[in-house]
Symmetry: C2
Subunit: 517 residues, 2 copies
């Protein structure tokens, strides 16, 4: 890389692919300790699990018991991962390979297929992919919900709260069956469909860009049209896709219900972003923005790594990683073509490196967890977004002037060199990264503390119904006052017609009268 002020010195690039977030748990002092409770966790995968695990560790530190429901086909959750959680396994009719295949199909679609397809084709392919994934998810649901033995055991354990990511369905039905409150943890749903349609969060399409639309809050007329079409098409897609789950829930609970209605019963939605990242937008009292809860101050580096970092002199170092679900991984011998100032690691202490004073830039795939560590430490970024929310995440950072972004499919070596030069040598990138860092740190309560507070609140108070808006009990036409408008328009129309009738009659009479005269 590319450090310092000149491109003549060969850069120090740290290349990694498997990462692990090691978090020192923040000391919680700001709220009174509740009684110890029993926390049940619905299975989740990937970075969702990495993030949730930190909250669970903290709950255990505070004396609660945590039980994690793990399907035997899980890719990321492993029974022996930590002996602090109680793992409750359940069998499913699908294999880990089925789940991995589904994931691979998604990756392939968003990285290679999407650019070659038109809008209609994208929606059709997305419908096929999500439908297939839903079948998998419902097999998981069956594994838990239809096992009498498991359900009996869970009922007897008397849990106080259920934690779940709504991206993986069925936690809602399980919470209802166990008669316990539900707390969601969510990064986003496409075009915010879940948050809007089921959580009742208002999102005017004129300035709230749909999640993963790559739009910002400042939209031109054309962009506002695109955003509106994105909302409408995604809402239609979701409504159509969720029918399968609607039927499953209705059948299981033995009364007419829907996925959306059940999601709307969640007491708290912990959203894994904050206003350092998110464009400001409306929200509701039961939505809490707790982005960056996994971030911690940097710990000292191992001696050899510290020596290597120090060898960069004034030029400093660049950290390079493509996240936990990597596609680009290098595990062999270090190639001869790499300079002495470049090191390759199977795993590296990413957070400690980002927090090192010598770090000048971060080359990232644009995952939320990594971006948040860069925000936390005020490091400018070069983004090479790959799939999912990553391109959209990087738009949030480039809009704020804290990053430049590369196109993975078309980028050349020189693009990366230019990008790194820009974020390192143009001071505005560092200043903007530091501004985001200030916003991140300067808030009333640490995000991890806030998450734990609201989970414990729900446990103490058996829910948080006082934060739930009445919108949940309105139909869509009532919510938008369409019935009120229809009534008022009708009344106005009748008034107008009557006024016209009486005026005509009046004029006609007076005319007739004057004629007579």
């Amino acid at each position: 890389m590319v450090a310092g002020h000149s491109m003549n010195t060969q850069p120090t690039v740290l290349l990694t692919n498997m990462r692990l977030v090691v978090c020192v748990l923040a000391l919680l002092t700001a709220f009174s300790a509740g009684e110890c409770g029993n926390v049940l966790v619905w299975f989740t995968e990937g970075s969702h699990w990495i993030n949730l695990k930190i909250v669970l560790e903290t709950l255990i530190d505070r004396g609660h018991n945590v039980t994690v429901l793990v399907p035997d086909a899980s890719i990321f959750m492993h029974e022996k991962e930590s002996d602090r959680f109680s793992y409750q396994n359940f069998s499913v009719s699908k294999s880990t390979q089925d789940m991995q295949d589904s994931l691979n199909d998604f990756l392939h679609f968003s990285m290679y297929e999407m650019d070659r397809l038109n809008l209609l084709q994208i929606h059709i392919r997305l419908y096929q992919l999500i439908s297939k994934d839903q079948q998998l998810c419902l097999a998981y649901c069956n594994g838990a919900l239809k096992s009498l033995e498991l359900m009996d055991k869970l009922l007897q354990e008397k849990f106080d709260v259920m934690l779940a990511d709504p991206i993986f369905p069925c936690s809602e039905v399980l919470a209802e069956k166990l008669d316990i409150p539900l707390v969601y943890t969510l990064r986003f749903s496409i075009a915010h469909t879940m948050e809007r349609m089921c959580g009742q969060i208002p999102a005017p399409p004129s300035y709230v860009p749909g999640a993963i639309s790559k739009l910002t809050d400042k939209m031109s007329f054309t962009e506002r049209i695109l955003n509106m079409l994105f909302y409408l098409s995604q809402d239609a897609l979701a409504s159509s896709l969720w029918k399968t789950i609607d039927n499953y829930y209705t059948e299981y609970l033995g009364r007419p219900t829907s996925y959306c209605e059940m999601m709307g019963k969640a007491d708290i939605w912990l959203i894994r972003t904050y206003w350092d990242f998110e464009f400001p937008r409306p929200f509701l009292p039961n939505f809490k923005f707790i982005g960056g809860l996994h971030c911690t101050p940097a710990k000292p580096l191992p001696k050899d790594l510290e020596e290597f970092v120090q060898s960069s002199g004034d030029d400093g170092i660049v950290v390079f990683t493509l996240g936990s679900m990597v596609l680009w991984r290098y595990g062999g011998e270090k190639p001869d073509t790499l300079g002495q100032n470049t090191k390759i690691f199977e795993w590296m202490p990413q957070n400690d490196l980002l927090g090192h004073p010598k770090t000048r830039a971060f080359i990232t795939h644009g995952g939320t967890n990594g971006i948040y560590e860069a925000i936390y430490h005020g490091v400018p970024m070069v983004g090479i977004p790959l799939f999912g929310d990553q391109p959209d995440n990087m738009v949030h950072m480039t809009t704020r002037g804290a990053a430049v972004v590369m196109d993975f499919n078309s980028m050349q070596t020189q693009d990366l060199v230019d990008g790194l030069n820009a974020v390192i040598n143009d001071p505005s990138y560092k200043e903007n990264a530091m501004r985001l860092s200030r916003i991140h740190h300067d808030r009333p309560m640490k995000p991890l503390d806030e998450s734990v507070f609201w989970i414990e609140f729900v446990m103490r108070n058996k829910g948080a119904k006082h934060l739930r808006v009445e919108a949940h009990n309105l139909t869509w036409y009532q919510y938008h006052c369409l019935d009120v408008f229809a009534f008022l328009t009708t009344v106005l129309y009748i008034c107008f017609k009557m006024a016209k009738f009486f005026i005509m009659r009046c004029c006609f009479r007076s005319k007739r009268k004057s004629k007579k005269e």
Copy 2:
């Protein structure tokens, strides 16, 4: 009075009229202390001032300097009230009597006139009253803004933030002239016009009742029509009334602007309620709900008062006061008809009495400050609302089952007896009051700490622009996507017409062809 379980024992009534909120300042530990700053406060009156003063005291405790701008015609703010603030007087062309007259007109209107008038008459009278009040307010603005000497002095003092209640205009222009950020403290504006139209907070009329509408979040079809009409009429009234201020601002700043546009520049809106009182509704990142910041634990009562309270035995006591802007006041000798168990005070330690374990009920006019003390200590209420937001405030408490309400104009002695009997003897009232108290106390941060945090945040960061929604930069038709809908409808219409044209042409051709054949 009226304590215990039977109406046979004569009640212990504590009657007062002037009240003073004595607040022990909460220890602030949850956030890092910023550098000391200069705080400028725009004048305000009545309970608005009582509430704001507590925040100012805390800012001074934390080392900041506070300068309060006081017109020489103020009713409630007095230069010698506290030697901890710097008072900056300014002359206005109106007298204290003018202000008092305007206030009395408002009180008379809302207590006696309103019930006798129809909806149109109410709006006309309200228009007259507010117009007259605006002239007064603009005289105040002139006193400050057009005094070159004062403006020079303020500019030289280099303030870091301006605190103001938007109910009293001109703080916006002053903040702009001094080039400092603005923090609002607001209880409500009628039908939330300021919050909605200028602060850009979304408020769907289907479940967000307009402030002082006396409606709840659960509305019937008729109520939703009424709420919609209330919103529409108040928006029209506000738009029309604000024209005077729009012109004043435009002339003063020498560029076209409006009252609403200037209000929209406020960095933070501190709203003096919370979800223990407010029906849950959408809000924005720069709206902070800090209701009840003046509440503190009860201090021991003076010896004679404690003895009197103890003499009530198991029956307990009832606290009775009609607030700081009283109409019903008794200052003379105690009448012979009052029993031995009733005491009259010129002033009483209301908060300490409400927090006393022997207190069974609180007879209140329904002011927000008093209601919050009752919520804090979990005391059920009998409301005798008089004017302004008081009837609406009591609706919030009756809806939650923590109060009964009397009609001031028609109530009989027996109604009050029945009401007190209900809240004392029916345990549901106490339970509901305690539930609200739990919600009040069980939040991540004390409301006073949260207020001070956001004021200091704005001082540290010279504003809070990252919390300001892009909606401020959209026109009303852009905000509601009317231009997008118009475009999409036109495109759909053209597509439909073209499709029809081609189908017709096709059919026509094939018909002609077959005819020919």
